[in-house]
Amino acid sequence: MTTDPQGDKARIARQFIEMIPHARALGMTVEEIGDGLAVISMPYNEQLVGDIKTGVIHGGAVSALMDTCGGAAVVCHPDAPGGTATIDLRIDYMRAAKPGDRITARAECHHITRNVAFVRAVAMDGDPEHPVAMATGAFTVERPR
């Protein structure tokens, strides 16, 4: 049995995220997690469409993906002692995601203090050169009691 604390933390974080009821409802999959970086993707789903004329996914579903991914980046940061909650999140929708494409969010916890974690995130469809949306957020740092 090998003990790799970081790998362990990542495994737990992955299991925890994939157990979240809303993450399951959106079909989220953790692609990569560890060291304050998380990559989570979600399949195209007609139930999440925001405009039936174009079949484009609603921004709200992209927000949910980026919020989850931001929280995941915080909990897997080496200095994060436990859970987290969003304090604020700013999301810029740069363009419509291509209908049919999987959406992938990549979030990075770039700074963490005793009480606050700062996160940047980006969401991409099949064309990662041109992001669909970007987010900036502040998250709480919860200590296990």
Binding site: P21, H58, S63, D67, T86, R90, Y93
Partner: protein, 177 residues
């Protein structure tokens, strides 16, 4: 076609409710979240009934922050679309009877939103109301607030910016008289 006599109340209600229905039922994602909209005159209140699939933290349990953000955005979007439709609807330029999700005019698009999470969303129904702070030819700014049991204790608020659709030179009223 000035209206000398006030319209029968039932006709007014039917028209407004039909337009609102086209707005809300035409968006699959709004149906997915389970959001419905209550109308009193021109004032709208969005309702998000609690459902297990909305949970983001199973330990507390609490509503997913992404759901809260989406609920705020959807409420703001319905409000700004409703405000845009209202005048055309009331002067008869849009015929609400034949309005379907597919025949709706183009709707405002979200540019960005900033959400403040104020309290954790409990496993209860949530409500939201939005106010169009400023609506211009190209952009609109909307403030929106969500609460649960107590209106004075909001769970989240957001400012949302929209890109307004290009409007054709004031569509002429359907000239049937």
């Amino acid at each position: 076609m000035s209206r000398k006599h006030p319209e029968p109340m039932q006709a007014v209600k039917q028209r407004r409710d039909a337009a609102l229905r086209a707005l809300v039922e035409g968006v699959p994602y709004i149906q997915f979240l389970g959001v419905s909209v209550d109308r009193r005159g021109d004032e709208l209140t969005a309702l998000l009934p609690f459902d297990d699939k909305l949970i983001g933290n199973p330990m507390l349990p609490a509503i997913h922050g992404g759901v809260t953000a989406a609920f705020l955005e959807v409420t703001a979007q319905i409000e700004v679309s409703w405000a845009m439709l209202w005048d055309d609807l009331e002067r008869g330029a849009i015929d609400a009877e034949t309005l379907t999700p597919a025949s709706l005019p183009r709707m405002p698009k979200t540019i960005d939103l900033t959400v403040d999470y104020l309290r954790s969303g409990l496993p209860r129904d949530a409500y939201a109301r939005a106010r169009v702070t400023r609506s211009g030819r190209r952009y609109a700014t909307v403030f929106v607030e969500a609460w649960q049991d107590n209106r004075e204790r909001p769970i989240a608020q957001a400012t949302v910016h929209f890109l307004m659709p290009r409007r054709e030179a004031a569509a002429a009223p359907a000239s049937n008289g």
